[in-house]
Subunit: 184 residues, 2 copies
């Protein structure tokens, strides 16, 4: 990826997340990236492609972020679940003041045939699989329902954080997850 393409993607990521996808035009992206539209279209071909790469890149960075946190976490499955919530809180503090970027993008992309759709659903499936794997280490019988509950707490916390419903929503979700795991 050329330096200009990198700058385009960084600018698009910031603008798409802060203002929404449909509210941001390619002229603004090019201007913020210090790049002409020509270069932008030479590198990406379409706005739709920029949207897809924005989401795919964000997804990739999130997964790497979680993986790094998980590497530094204790081996006990329950502690690793809490490490995911801690990762989410840290991530939200610096990357997600407005909630989950995938959920927000999904609000604007209704067409299931849109190439960004599998990126969005893919991240959620990955998260559910992550929780399921960890839940199997906590309570092998009935790991699936436990993972789904963790998923609900996690998604709810991201929304609550984005809408600023009450202070430290993700921390609260973490404590609830803790209580839930302790009850096993």
């Amino acid at each position: 990826m050329t330096p200009a393409a990198r700058r385009v993607l960084e600018a698009a990521a910031r603008l798409f997340y802060e203002r929404g996808i449909h509210a941001v035009g390619v002229d603004l992206i090019a201007h913020e990236a210090g790049v002409t539209k020509k270069t932008l279209y030479d590198r990406f071909g379409s706005k739709e492609q920029i949207v897809v790469e924005y989401l795919a890149d964000r997804d990739e960075r999130w997964r790497a972020f979680v993986a790094r946190r998980l590497d530094a976490a204790p081996p006990e499955p329950a502690a690793r679940v809490l490490a995911v919530f801690d990762a989410s809180r840290a991530w939200a503090a610096e990357h997600s003041p407005k909630g989950c970027g995938m959920v927000n993008a999904h609000a604007e992309i209704s067409d299931p045939e849109h190439p960004a759709h599998p990126v969005i659903t893919g991240q959620k499936r990955w998260m559910l699989a992550l929780f399921t794997g960890l839940a199997e280490g906590v309570r092998p019988a009935g790991a699936e329902p436990l993972a789904r509950t963790l998923m609900l707490l996690h998604e709810g916390a991201l929304v609550a954080h984005g809408l600023d419903m009450f202070p430290d929503a993700i921390g609260h979700a973490r404590e609830q997850a803790h209580a839930l795991l302790a009850a096993c």
Copy 2:
């Protein structure tokens, strides 16, 4: 409200929810409502105003829907909490295949000065207050944290339902709320 204005609001509500606010233009709204743009602007003055009334109307209908369900629910606070989740499941089945309209709108409206902002946050505050009032009947000491947990489960379930993460997410949230209340 004149018949044409009502049709405009109905068309706008459907289009805004299904496709997103910025993706829908006033020409499309007018066409779908069987109304000219002139009539549309005579009644509402601006697209922004249509957005505000769409959200306010949706909020009002949701609150009335919950109130009706709550009227028919048993007097025990725990049962009334579950009635809220049941109401949400019924509402989602016929009005919200794509998750919470307020959350989706918030993804597109970043500016806190936007007149639609208080409508969005108002509904969430109302929901939290509703849960808090019911939680006080279940566990007077520590009603606030209990209400926040119910809120997380509820919001998470709406997101999970909208993204189709797994079947009957709201029903699962209801069962988790049930377990949570039973533990009090």
